[in-house]
Subunit: 260 residues, 2 copies
Amino acid sequence: MNQFIERTQLIQEWIYDAAKLIKSSFEENLDIQQKSNRNDLVTNIDKAVEKQFIEKIHQFFPGERIMGEEGFGDEFQNLDGIVWIIDPIDGTLNFIKQQYDFAIMVAVYEDGIGQAGFIYDVMQDKMYSAHKGKGAYCNKKKLPPVKDLSLKEGLVAISSALMSKEEGLARLVGRASSGVRLIGSAGIETAHVASGQLIGYIAASLAPWDIAAGKIIAEEVGLIYTKMNGSSIDLLQKNPSLVATPTAHKEIIMLLNTKK
Amino acid sequence: MNQFIERTQLIQEWIYDAAKLIKSSFEENLDIQQKSNRNDLVTNIDKAVEKQFIEKIHQFFPGERIMGEEGFGDEFQNLDGIVWIIDPIDGTLNFIKQQYDFAIMVAVYEDGIGQAGFIYDVMQDKMYSAHKGKGAYCNKKKLPPVKDLSLKEGLVAISSALMSKEEGLARLVGRASSGVRLIGSAGIETAHVASGQLIGYIAASLAPWDIAAGKIIAEEVGLIYTKMNGSSIDLLQKNPSLVATPTAHKEIIMLLNTKK
């Protein structure tokens, strides 16, 4: 068993602890702050969860670097060595407005290569996980390799920002598919592509912590995860992102380039 | 207790029976047929569930008329007397592709006035129900009157067809809100507006069975349910539909008329 599989139980315990903290906040008044714009929000709970993760990582794995959405981790110029990538609450808007459809995401990378990824859909109690080369799971159930369906055979998730834009690239994709779905959590949307419920997911601008865990899980079931132009994801910056079955991935890239 | 409340236990039992039938089909191969277009689908299960409802209604309430999505009910020129409106599986595409986010919907109208409405989110085991003048419930819990939030304070559900259109009316609404969500079941989307998780829901063309139960539930919690131009819903035809908080309803109608 490699060192990253050995970490699984510990990481999952931390995630379940974080989920308890998040759910206990439902009855409280959240302290909500704006980040880049009026719909990019952070709460005291996002921050508390990230700090909790960082504390535990420092305790159990001293010296390993941490990249976190809320900025309590380290600064990064490269991905050398072991790097933890944490999103304490993916889908903060859903957490605030809906109290469902949000996830906790943790990934461990080594020299830029994804080794272990976890997406926990808190309200559905679904733990999606994967280790490089060992397949992906939803709770204890192994996810089968995805069927290589084409775009017209499946539902596609498209981010709200992308669907609301006037220029119509994403809508070309929507119309070529069976239909568009929009959950508002990159983690859950990616997990649903991995479990075969969606054919693909595209988003205009995903941060490293939106991508890191999902990319490992997606690749373990045979999905292709790249930038929207087909080039490799860069986990040191934001990426216009596309994850899909091999066939749908090709079709979507072709459509996205039709109008350019 | 009026006669429509007396029917509640029976209707809910029928719905739970239908849910069992639907879930038992998950392991089988569905017989899938196209209706109006390649994404307007019906399965043998939709048909079996509708027939089961019709049989039970005929047995317990002989002489009452039935309007059903799959066409096994009666023909309608008016809504006189007691009329049952049934959607055996709302969100058939989700049922087929995702095995979640679909609902069973039953409504009872009398002389065109909604008396009792039921939306059952099968996979979440959530029974949304309402009787005219008696409030709305999710399972045994009474839903409080919705907060009259404005569009920018909430998430809005917009149908896939509407979001994928080139002309940008719906996207004006999306950009003025906190964000767009797209579930693909009119019943579940309306239920989520009623439970305060969404601020509103708009769809280009809802059939009477997509609207009937949700409208009763929505109105019991203080939502406004009309056509997209603000006029009254007509349950004898398809309607471009809008359900929202009073304030968001006004704002959305204003936006939808901006570009006309």
